[in-house]
Structure formats: C-alpha cells, structure tokens
Subunit: 356 residues, 2 copies
C-alpha cells in the first residue's frame, strides 16, 4: 500500500476497456508526497502511469461489463434513516460545528447509504456537497449529472451495466467532476482528516456502547468485507453508522447488548442511526451511551429487554454480563428469534416492524 | 481537536513552570496545513502561541512536579518480548520490508514498551532510531542522552521527579533532539502514515483472530484509557501489540478465544508478541491466524484448551461458539482461574509461568 506502483514491478499486464482508447480511469495518479489534496476534486500526480515497455507481458482488451448489482429503491426504513441524518446535519450546521459550505461525505456501499446520499442531495437546507469516498455507485452519477452533488472522488466504481453505458455515452460530462485515484490516496488517513470527511457507513449490528459489527453475522458468517470504512471512521471529522433497527421481520434486533464481532470500536463511533432515530454519542460515558442507543435507536419492542440487560449487568466502567451478553444471539440460533416470546403481529402500528 | 488554538478562545489561563523563564514546551506549534513533517524531528509552526493579552485572565506560576510513576526494571517476560521484537525487525530489514535506516517508532506507556525501546536501542543490528509518539517516559531521555536513540517527538511527558530534575539541569542537551507538539500533530493520522511509523503498544488480552483489548479487564473494569494507540494502530506502517502470555501467576491467559472488550480490531493488528514468541498475522486468514497466535504466543499450558475451543467451534469465515467464547473469563470470575484444573506448580521448568 505504500509503493509508488508499476516502476517497481517486474512484469506488468495491461488492461484496456471500451476498445477505443477511452479509459474508465480519469486520473491514474502516482502519489507524490506530501499529498496536496485540499478539495475532494483536487488532482495530483499525472494522468498516466509510466511503464517500461520491456516489462509489459501482455495487453488485454475487454468490453466485459462489471455486472454491478442494481440497488432497490429506498424503502421506508432507509427513507427514515436519511431524514434523521439530514436533520442532524442541519442542526450541526446551525450550531456551527459543521461549516455552512458543508463537508465532504464518505459513503459506504448499499441501499441505505444510497438513500442517505440522495436524501441529503435533495434536502433544501443542505448545500451542494462533494463526496470523497472509496466506491461510487449508480446514485452518485445521477446526483452529479443533476447537479445536486458537485463532484466525487473515489478509487472504484460499482455500476450497473445500464449506468456504465450511460457513463460511456456521456463521458465528457463527468471528467471534471469525478476523480478516480489509487486506493492509497482515496483512503489516505491524512486526507480524510485534512478534508474533515463525514463518514457514513452501514452496520450489521451495534452494541450498547457503540461498537459496530460491519462484517460477520452471529460472529461467524461473513457478509461483507470491511472495505475502507476503517480508514474513514478512525480519521473522519465525524463517523456515523446506520442500519434498520430490526431485520428478518423483527426477529433480529440490530441493537444488541454486545456485538458478536467488532470491526469499529466505541472509540471511533460517534453517531448511530436507525429508522427509529439518531443517537449522538459524543461526550457521553458508557452507561449514558447505552441508554441513548436503546431509547433512540432500538426498536420499541426490544427496548425493555435491552434496558433489563443493562440494569442487570454487574457494575463497572462498562456494564456487561459475560454470561448473558450473547443471550439474544443464542436465542436466534436456537429459536429463530432473538426474543422468542415477542408477538410481532401484536405490535402497535406505529411500532410496526419494517420489512428489510 | 481540529481547532488552531488560543485565538478562538475567549478566556485564556496561562501556566508557567520552573519560575525562571524555562518552559517544558520545546516547540508549541500551531498547525499549518499541509503538515510538512517528513522526519520525526521536523519543526513546523512557531515557537510561541499568540494570545490577545486582553483575554488573559490569570497567570499561574507552579513548580509542582508531575510525580510520574517510576517503572520497574525490565522483568524476564519484558526482556523476552523485546528479544522477539528485535529479532523480527532484523528479519524485516533483511527482507527489505523495513528500510536499512529503520522507521520511526511509536511506543506506548509502561514497563513492556520501555523494555522494548531499550532492547531495540541497544541491539547491534538495529540502527539508531527516532521516536514519533504521544508520551515520553524516563527511558526515552536516557536513550537520547546516551545517543542510542537520535531523538523523539511527543505531545506529553510522564517523568519521575528525579528525571524531571535531570531534564531541567540538562535542558540544552535535549532541545535539538526532543520536540513536543499539540496532540493533533503528535497523533495526526496523516503524519503517522507518511512517516511510516511502527506502532508498538501493550494489550490486556488478545483473541484468536487478533482483536485486542487495551482497556477493560473482564469487559467491565477499566485499567487504562485508550490513549492514542488507536490513531497509530490504524495508520501505522506496522501495528504490533505485546503482553506477557499469562498474568496472576498463570491463572489468567492473555490469549483468549474472544476478547471481553475490543479496542483494536483484527483489521489493524498485524503482529502479536508475548514472551513465548511472535505471531506475524499478515496475509493469514482467520483460522490460520488463530493457530499461529495459539502456537506462537499462548502459554503452553493454555494451548490445548485454546485449540479445543477453535476446533470445536461451528464453521464459518471466523469460527466462534457464542456459548463458550467467554468460558475462560467466567471460570476466572467463578473459580479464580481461567482453567481451574490447571496445576501450575507441575508445569515443566521451561514452561514456567512468569511473575507479573
């Protein structure tokens, strides 16, 4: 991750796409030091990579599309999460903690992040923003094309075939507003800190103290790699994690006593958001964090159980009961529901469990 | 953490020490952007802080010493850990992964880190190095005074009264070789990455997959704050965590199936070291990591139990059994030993449990 690239390699395979000299790489820039990126769209380095022709072992021409997955239209949970996030940012701008010109957004991959990006872009009180992230999805090109977002920097694209065709047909519209960079630059901790990036990523589960599981269901089955979220959550101006409060028709609560796998620790997670609400954890001690996460983010059907866990756990700087911290996970493994006695159909309408 | 300092404050209290115009702050530098620190001893900013005199509400003169805690002479476990670390660095230099001039070291606070610093400084095959860290302890001033280390950058000192007196009496010897900076600079993620810092910190416990607990015993009782280790482990060239393999006379294994609290995730922890040996986790999948940590780092008396846990856990990308992952912790809570049947006095001499 620290090398400057092709000049050190002994053998270099080259790949080209589109077959007519157009490349999906807008600015393949080697890394000079220091990294003078003061705006997400600043370009550094060169628009080409130098390679000794003697090292080239082959050239692969391909038109094979990426086959990127189309994301669903935002569902009710995603829309509510986007509303909570937008409302929080508006308050932060009013308080002066986020400047009036806003800050660059880093955005994870998936339906929720897409919905949040779109919700923010269309929000009247949030100015046109730029994105400094790792992977761009379809929605980003729509936002840039419409002018709702003013540009984006990334290292990779994950586009549907339809959007990729659209991009090739409208290439010139994006060359000034999209920058693709080597990953060491797109995920560089110094740039994330210097730009003051706001990191918005999704969680599989969040525990009472703000630890986040982004990768492993029930501590064992991987559903996502970590991607670059670790680079951003630690070094961002603000790190936020989002998920619906329940999954599997309400049989799983994403707010749990202890995460079954931890990718992001309490030390870096500042804001948690579900469709139920937003928990701003900044400046809170462990027990206050736990209560705020339960009251603001957990589904109402799970709040009593979570409060009972917290109040029943032995005292400590952090309250935890190692005998019971995974009881909800074990219930799911044994009974197919984290709270087997919960009557999901009897929930009041305003507390209805959202489909995911 | 992002502010430039006193110019934004409305009221400013000033403190001076030593009473004769000498300040323990060698270079109180505001943060210009970009941060042009390409060597741990590079100085940026100014040697003073500008304050509007109208804002000064008082000047406090104090000679009160810090009363820093003296650290014990390195014990057998610390010495062996330092040997493993030095041997690893020598191999890394031979392989070309660490350059012959070495890289700056970040070093946590405590006996083990002190022992490792001293061990590296006196090692014949490791060149004189510089330190880029957050807190300097007594040992660092000895290493700089003797010329074994060529200098150090930090944001704070934690010195015994004796060493503080020594510093004041020999101030001129250190002004070129010690730089104190604001924390946003000492712990800046961009600088840690740019310098290629090697982060060496201590762990309370390490789990089979390389997650590290640095703060909470049994998941509840805080013994340390996190300090800046999170800034360094995520952004360093190499992140290493060290601890003795057992504590409490062997009744606790620091290598456990699952950490009872996680401060640093598997994604950032590359090397684990105990007095038993060193586990280089780079490039290994989860199960291979687990076996290497058990075989290289766990105390021999605990290896069978840890292997049994691993092999008996349900398959997955990560193998874990949420029913049993804290069994060793619960044994300690209930029986005063993680493996109550273990006969510590019957251990073979070469496997003797180290006092801590």
């Amino acid at each position: 991750m620290r090398g400057e690239g092709g000049d050190r390699a002994e053998r270099v395979p080259l790949a080209t796409t589109a077959g007519d000299g157009r490349y999906p790489c807008f600015a393949a820039a080697a890394a000079p030091r220091p990294l003078s990126i003061h705006d997400p769209l600043d370009r550094i380095g060169r628009t080409y990579a130098e390679v000794d022709p003697a090292k080239v072992i082959g050239v692969v021409h391909t038109n094979e599309p990426d086959g990127g997955r189309a994301f669903a239209a935002p569902d009710e949970a995603s829309r509510r999460i986007a509303e909570h996030v937008a409302e929080f940012f508006v308050q932060e701008m009013r308080s002066g903690r986020i400047p009036p010109e806003f800050l660059p957004l880093q955005s994870g991959v998936g339906n929720i992040c897409n919905a949040v990006l779109s919700g923010l872009a269309s929000h009247k009180e949030i100015p046109r923003f730029k994105v400094y992230t790792e992977v761009l999805q379809d929605a980003m090109f729509d936002l840039v094309a419409s002018g709702e977002a003013s540009g984006a920097s990334s290292t990779a694209l994950t586009l549907t075939d339809k959007k990729l065709t659209f991009l090739y047909e409208n290439f010139g519209d994006f060359t000034d507003r999209i920058v693709l960079r080597p990953q060491e630059i797109s995920n560089n901790p110094g740039i994330a800190r210097q730009l003051g990036v706001i990191a918005t990523n999704t969680a599989i589960e969040v525990d009472l103290y703000g630890h986040v599981n982004s990768t492993h269901i029930l501590g064992t089955q991987i559903v996502n790699g970590l991607g670059g979220s670790g680079d951003f959550e630690r070094n961002a101006f603000l790190a936020m994690f989002m998920c619906p409060s329940t999954t599997k028709g309400g049989r799983i609560s994403t707010i749990v006593p202890m995460c079954s796998h931890i990718d992001h620790s309490e030390h870096s997670v500042q804001v948690v958001v579900t469709e139920q609400g937003l928990a701003d954890l900044r400046g809170l001690g462990p027990t206050a964090r736990a209560r705020r996460i339960i009251d603001n983010c957990a589904h109402p059907a799970y709040r009593d159980a979570l409060h009972r866990y917290l109040e029943g756990a032995p005292m400590g700087h952090i309250r935890h009961d190692l005998r019971r911290c995974f009881a909800m996970h074990l219930n799911y493994l044994e009974h197919g529901a984290m709270l087997p006695d919960l009557n999901l159909s009897a929930l009041e309408p305003q507390h209805a469990v959202l489909k995911t």
